[in-house]
């Protein structure tokens, strides 16, 4: 096991996120069992007050998860010097089978916490809290994920054994070891490029259709999730190659380095925000018929769809510009 400040910090974050989400989930359980908006009992009053705490806790978890996501990518990058064959973060995440699952769980938790907060925001605009059961149900699903993330991350860090000089032999050990897989395998560039832009078209069509027929909400949410996956696949398959101007370097993390002008942040931030907003818009659509939310939901939907659209336009615009300015000729 390696002990570095970044690992200590990441474990601290995982611990506090798991703690707050578990606490929130235990309150959520009580609310699910005893909630009765028509009752004026002391218990109901107490439960209503707890809802404030839960939303604060979840807000904290969202922020912490964002910090953790950034720090995790940076840490993997900075540890790359310690493993034979690991040139960058990808290599470190491949050191043992828990690296990428940790990252995926972090991303999943980030999106779920964002969706929960959106749901909560909409719910608070209805005078009778109509979505209480939905949102606290979702919260109960979030708790095991937070625990799992903590556990998988701990396994990942426990499995990191740096390859340093031992007293008995110098390099024998690094010469015989094969080293870790330092590269991600990408899709072939041409179909990936086609898929990438086709997805942009599909998303636009879906967005317009969703404005017209709000019942397509869940479909729009799914399209956003798919667009996120396609965007990441696109970054791995060709966008990173164009940025690094190297036909073999597929790493999605090196984009975050100073050497590439931190272009990764400009790509990922709009992408994450747009995906969260788009999924949120799609997921709240089915509740638009609830009497107390008839005014709030269309309003939120319009705003979120707009936000998603702006985010994806920024992402695709930047991606296209990066491809055009690159000196790499990938499709000859």
């Amino acid at each position: 096991m390696l002990i570095t400040p970044a690992i200590v910090a990441l474990q601290l974050i995982a611990l506090s996120v798991a703690g707050t989400v578990l606490l929130a989930a235990s309150f959520a359980w009580k609310i699910l069992r005893h909630w009765n908006i028509h009752s004026g009992s002391e218990l109901q009053l107490r439960l209503e007050r707890r809802t404030y705490l839960i939303s604060t806790l979840l807000g904290f978890a969202l922020g912490a998860e964002l910090l953790s996501l950034l720090l995790f990518a940076q840490t993997a990058e900075s540890l790359s010097g310690q493993f034979v064959g690991a040139m960058c973060a990808t290599g470190v995440l491949n050191v043992n089978p828990f690296g990428f699952p940790t990252l995926l769980l972090k991303i999943a938790l980030f999106f779920l916490a964002a969706l929960w907060l959106l749901l909560n925001r909409v719910d608070n605009r209805g005078y009778d809290y109509p979505l209480v059961r939905v949102k606290y149900g979702l919260l109960l699903a979030l708790a095991p994920l937070a625990l799992l993330e903590g556990a998988v991350q701990t396994r990942f860090f426990l499995g990191l054994e740096p390859e340093v000089i031992t007293s008995c032999c110098g390099s024998l050990f690094s010469a015989t070891g094969q080293g870790v897989a330092a590269e991600l395998a990408g899709l072939p560039a041409r179909p990936a490029l086609a898929l990438f832009y086709a997805m942009a078209g599909l998303l636009l069509v879906m967005g317009l259709a969703f404005r017209r027929w709000p019942r397509l909400g869940p479909l729009f949410a799914a399209a956003n999730l798919l667009a996120f996956a396609v965007a990441i696949a696109g970054i791995v398959a060709f966008l990173s190659l164009y940025v690094y101007e190297n036909p073999n370097h597929h790493c999605p993390f090196c984009l975050l380095k100073a050497g590439y002008d931190y272009v990764g942040y400009a790509l990922y931030l709009p992408l994450f925000a747009a995906t969260a907003a788009g999924m949120g818009a799609g997921l709240i659509a089915p509740f638009r018929r609830i009497v107390s939310l008839q005014a709030a939901i269309p309003d939120e939907m319009r705003r979120l769809t707009g936000l998603a659209l702006v985010g994806f336009v920024m992402f695709y615009g930047l991606a296209t510009w990066l491809i055009l300015r690159s000196h790499l000729i990938l499709l000859g």
Binding site: T4, P5, L12, R49, L70, V164, C169, S171, A175
Partner: protein, 403 residues
């Protein structure tokens, strides 16, 4: 007019002291946050001494953690820069697991290995000087063209022995004879990290001093034509010369990195108890509202503030405190590490020696470092104040005002 009028000063020209729900509803989101910050700041200043204590402790906490991070990161960068010029492969001879002089005949064997550019024998060792109770690093420097009794010394060595160019330094040879050496130069202080305790002499002088047979070297350094082949070359060396121990530059770098990471991590864990104490303090401060504060919250609620608004105010309070403490602590640590000589954690992080080089680290800010600092200082503070903040926010106005 809002109910807040009741609590206004006699001077009717001043704006309402407490913004009301009616005000909030009419103004857009940003405006609302601006008012909240405004109010929170005023509230913080009203309880100066109480908040100042917390702020001081908070700043100290950030300062300590930031000092460790800045110092060890600077040292790591310095080590990596130095090692960039180190030989790609060093070959040592081992006997019974211990380092032994390497026969000159090995150099030919090494040169014949495909991929090896050049192989050169090195002569170096340590010399204990009882006068200053310190070890010097002695190294033969054939490229400097020194005569048998001429030496060049490092700046720290010259400083501690109070000697300069033209002086003689007497070394005691292995057979007990004194060996006077004339100093013909001092290594410039720019390379102090490398040359602090260094003493360069000729090959003849070195062999005379240590009574070393002519056909042996301390170790051998190789250049490799293709650096990516270094580990293959090392493998071939180990096969051709089973008693050898090849060490790659990449391994030295990795080991340094691991050592610094480990020291940093350990210091962090040791500072953990401090963090815990701080958390208890923060929790206690946030939970133990004074009667005055309770009354204030009660009044705010009575004039129409919602629970959410009070929570937001508490959140802003935490954010403003954290931001101030973070900036102050980080800047103090920065000054301490890069301009104040890093006295605080230097012995733990860089190790110690009698002839320790005197050097300045290059200042740099790193995003990862800032993220780590945020995660170990601000994040725990927020966790500690979440629940007390909520408890304060849900209190009933009438109960709060009655105290």
């Amino acid at each position: 007019m809002p109910v807040g009028l009741v609590f206004r000063d006699c001077d009717t020209v001043s704006p309402p002291l407490l913004p009301t729900a009616a005000d909030f509803a009419m103004r857009p989101l940003l405006e609302r946050q601006k008012y909240l910050i405004d109010y929170t700041l005023a509230a913080l200043f009203r309880r100066k001494t109480r908040n100042l204590g917390l702020l001081l402790v908070y700043t100290l906490l950030v300062f300590l953690f930031a000092s460790v991070l800045l110092l060890s990161q600077g040292l790591r960068r310095e080590a990596a820069l130095l090692l960039q010029d180190a030989p790609e492969v060093v070959v040592q001879k081992l006997i019974a697991g211990r380092h032994d002089p390497l026969p000159a005949a090995w150099l030919d064997t090494l040169r014949r290995i495909r991929g090896v550019g050049s192989a050169r024998g090195r002569l170096w060792g340590y010399y204990y000087d009882p006068a200053v109770k310190a070890n010097y690093t002695l190294m033969a420097a054939p490229e400097r063209g020194l005569a048998a009794d001429e030496i060049i010394v490092g700046a720290a060595l010259a400083r501690i022995r109070q000697i300069g160019v033209g002086d003689y330094l007497s070394l005691r040879a292995t057979d007990g004879r004194p060996l006077p050496m004339k100093i013909i130069g001092i290594l410039d202080s720019a390379s102090e990290l490398l040359g602090a305790d260094l003493l360069l002499l000729s090959e003849t002088g070195f062999r005379q001093l240590f009574q070393l047979p002519p056909a042996v070297y301390t170790d051998a350094v190789l250049t490799v034509r293709n650096p990516r082949e270094a580990s293959t070359v090392a493998n071939k060396i180990a096969l051709a010369l089973p008693a050898s121990r090849p060490i790659l530059r990449a391994e030295i770098l990795r080991t340094y990195d691991a050592v610094f990471h480990w020291r940093e991590g350990m210091t962090f864990v040791a500072l953990g108890s401090l963090l815990l104490a701080f958390l208890i303090l923060a929790w206690d401060k946030a939970a133990g509202l004074s009667a005055e504060e309770k009354r204030e919250i009660g009044i705010l609620k009575a004039i129409g503030w919602e629970t959410g608004d009070i929570l937001r105010m508490k959140l802003w309070e935490g954010t403003l405190l954290s931001l101030t403490a973070f900036l102050a602590g980080y800047l103090l640590a920065w000054w301490q590490v890069f301009y104040g000589g890093a006295r605080l954690f230097a012995p733990v992080l860089k190790g110690w020696a009698v002839l320790y080089p005197d050097f300045r680290l290059t200042p740099a800010v790193d995003l990862q470092q800032v993220l780590v600092l945020l995660a170990v200082t601000v994040l725990p503070y927020i966790v500690a104040t979440l629940i007390p903040g909520w408890r304060a926010a849900i209190s009933d106005p009438d109960a709060a005002m009655r105290g």
